[in-house]
Symmetry: C4
Subunit: 290 residues, 4 copies
């Protein structure tokens, strides 16, 4: 829930260059900070594109050495950024172990490792995850609020969705082994795990067609499995829609009645001066009529 | 939102043939105007059918020269219509740059271009877009109101759907590169972009089957990706359903309470004489009990 | 809406065998009437099964002459039933032209036609439609009420669903012709109609895989088409769910408040003695506290 | 609905080892009882994994004799558990005929049968069903409550879903035989049952691609069938979502107003001392403010 929380300043850096860089990295409302963020986002998108195009054979054949240089350029840039982040925050270890810290590290490691092990370069695509930083720069506080509602609805339906997933897996085990017995390895159902993969692909209405039933009984069982999967598709949709409708009603009620309930967890009755929800830490919006 | 707005008359044409043609083209309640619209719609549908059938090889072989003549007939007709529209509206440039103006131009350009470049004829299918004009003729004000509710629900959920799309693309990048590493070019995952195409096809439960995982690990990752995609399918449905239910409740409340709220944007408290919403410009219905 | 309406008695048959058979055919609460209905349902299901199994080659090889006899047995039985229905109802022509009358006729015609034209026998499967008669026998008034709510929700969302269908067809035309230009006949997109078939199969997430894009641009366009189709899947679900929730709320409100509103069209304020809704003709339930 | 009901103690075993084992098996709050449950769950998951891996050819080749021994170990363990359960409960027959009793028996039978009939071993996967016991151990009373709401929503929508299923089957019969007539055995539609299998696969948007239409008419009928299936997919989702939203609203109302309504069937007005709903037998929660 605190994906976008603001780290605290390193106390040793209340003044001087650390202070300046902390502001550039973590604030969003100044000119240099926006430029820094923009540069970073462009670099992330560009580096992901380079990895993607490098995987296309005929492009690789023509540009391999060029991509190699660019790749090292991005890696050095991201390394500098990573070190800078470590230097300016109050608790470097906490950043290093946070989700973003790990992703930032994973984004630079593969290139260094590829000096020893060729092939590790493919892992560079972890950088794609950094694209989420894009949302930060666009000052999309609205987007993040929306994300809060969507995530909270997902969080509230977690138990029901877990129950649903265990149901799907159980059905996949049963149907997979049934089909393994009915169709057998000669028709592509080569083992129970392979049949389970087929059952998931079928139940979720993907239906690749690489493995298909060929006996009459197998086709009948498949039809039944599909109709079950077809009914089950309603379950997560129903759960999520009901939860989301609840969340949106609450958000709208909040906007109208100005009762200062938290838009994410719904807790109400905050003090007049409160800026964050005392339950979930989400920022409370300004009172409408102060 | 203003897809069906009425253009204003060219001031130079308050009287005479321009006035008459402006009425024929833009009004909907007179006999000649209805005939004009009907003729136009028949011509559009017929021209689209000609392009479609012309693409079927054995029909083309038999009727090619005939289709060529018909094609030029439609093009000249649509050119005349386009010039007429330019002549009678008050601001020709504004029409030329509007969505409909561009489509009307694109509908006639390919035939002329095909005099220089053979093959451009395929682009004639842009004419299909003009089929949307059909709704106008049937005087389906009810349909357009429905369309307003559907569109407004889409518009209100735009941020959430954008967030969802960026989530889908991020997952496609991660899953695509994972599968590229796991399965490799020998199993059809020839590059990261190709793997991303596969990931989108799989996550959306389309599952063509032209590229399929063949290793056990690849099948396991695929199953996980499918279950994620299966859960994600609930997100846009949930978002849209919740927004639509809101919009419909509002529309029904309006119909019952006669509080003259705008059926599209929900703004209330309009003056007794008002005929259009002062927020979004959508037509307000007549008060039920005047 | 009046799928299960009760025909009126032929006035010439107020007494005698016609009266008796009218009661047997159209009432549901007497012993002979239930037996007649049961016999009919068994005959329908059995005759459909015979046609189905007769189409399986190795079964046909072994049982062909046997099936031929059975087939004629069913046809004579259904012919007798059809003639009987014509004789006992007040307005034979009206029955003959009703949905059920036409289905009943279509169910017997193919066998007679097959005397002249071999092959017409395949059309016998129209008999499957008669299976809907099953609901009648089980005295499933509850089921029919449910059906009323489901159908009414479908009816109320007809305009929105029509709009949605015309949107789908327009997108199919545009995407189909785009792909025809991009991929061309050599990759299976042999004509614009064939490409439109592919576009519908893809957008609806069926994805047979008989026609697949093979160029990079084609795959990109396909991904975009899929994401659009994926968003569009929310539209009919959202429309229908919202309408159905409305209908169910109304039905529940009716059950609780005993305000005698029609369960199907929602019209309220019926007279105390009223047994049918004076708007849509659906049967009103008994008042809860008389 | 009583999937997790507590069996009663065998009166002959109020004291002694039977009493002790009854507590271990059926209570959940003591240390030995938790250990027993954990052991059982681990054994179930392990035995299912063994059956699954044993079906993979190259694993079977290397470990067959080892798996044989492990298999017999699990079977003896489960046999001991089954006999123990029979001994300690008050009504052994009732347990033996309950869902869980039958599953427990089916889980051990195949190994014994395989002494006589080789091949029966594949049926061992019935053990997967026992995985549902996992929920018990985690003391997930919350989960079971959720399950109650989900199941009750399914139960309330049973009539509508049955109606929907019979609609799907009828359409499958009609479309299947139409395609059998149009495409014929030479294009893969080898019989009406095979065509029905294809119709179900297509309507549910699975689309394996093992059977595909090849004529223009066949493709047109397929497109129509897909659009119908696409509209129909909204039906069960809509039904279930509406029912679930009802159930959740009721559950929330209960939590807030403390009106002691049953969270599952909604019956209200229970006595102050009541611990179970007198309608459906589901446990009532503690009053919030006693």
């Amino acid at each position: 829930m605190r994906l976008f929380s603001t780290p605290q300043l390193n106390p040793a850096s209340e003044t001087g260059w650390r202070r300046r860089w902390f502001d550039i990295i973590h604030r969003r409302d100044t000119r240099p900070s926006r430029n820094f963020d923009l540069l970073l986002v462009y670099a992330i998108v560009a580096s992901v594109l380079v990895v993607m195009f490098d995987s296309v054979q005929h492009i690789h054949a023509a540009w391999a050495s060029w991509f190699y240089v660019v790749e090292w350029g991005f890696t050095l840039l991201f390394t500098a950024e990573y070190v800078l982040r470590l230097l300016v925050v109050r608790r470097p270890l906490r950043y290093a172990l946070s989700i973003w810290g790990v992703i930032d590290l994973l984004a630079i490691l593969p290139t260094y490792i590829s000096l020893l092990l060729p092939g590790a370069q493919s892992l560079l695509v972890v950088r794609a995850l950094r694209i989420l930083r894009v949302f930060r720069i666009l000052k999309l506080t609205r987007y993040i609020e929306e994300s809060g509602i969507l995530m909270q609805a997902l969080w509230r339906s977690r138990r029901k969705i877990l129950l649903f997933l265990s149901m799907v897996i159980t059905i996949a085990i049963i149907a997979g082994s049934l089909m393994y017995v009915i169709e057998g390895p000669s028709h592509g159902f080569s083992s129970i795990p392979a049949s389970m993969y087929w059952a998931v692909v079928t139940m979720a209405t993907v239906g690749f067609g690489d493995i298909v039933p060929q006996t009459t009984l197998g086709r009948f069982v498949t039809s039944v499995l599909i109709l079950i999967g077809y009914s089950i598709i309603a379950v997560p949709t129903g759960i999520y829609t009901a939860e989301l409708a609840n969340g949106m009603r609450r958000a709208e009620a909040w906007r109208r009645r100005d009762d200062r309930g938290c838009i994410v967890c719904g807790h109400e009755g905050h003090e007049q001066e409160a800026r964050y929800c005392n339950r979930c830490g989400h920022e409370l919006p300004e009172p409408l009529e102060p």
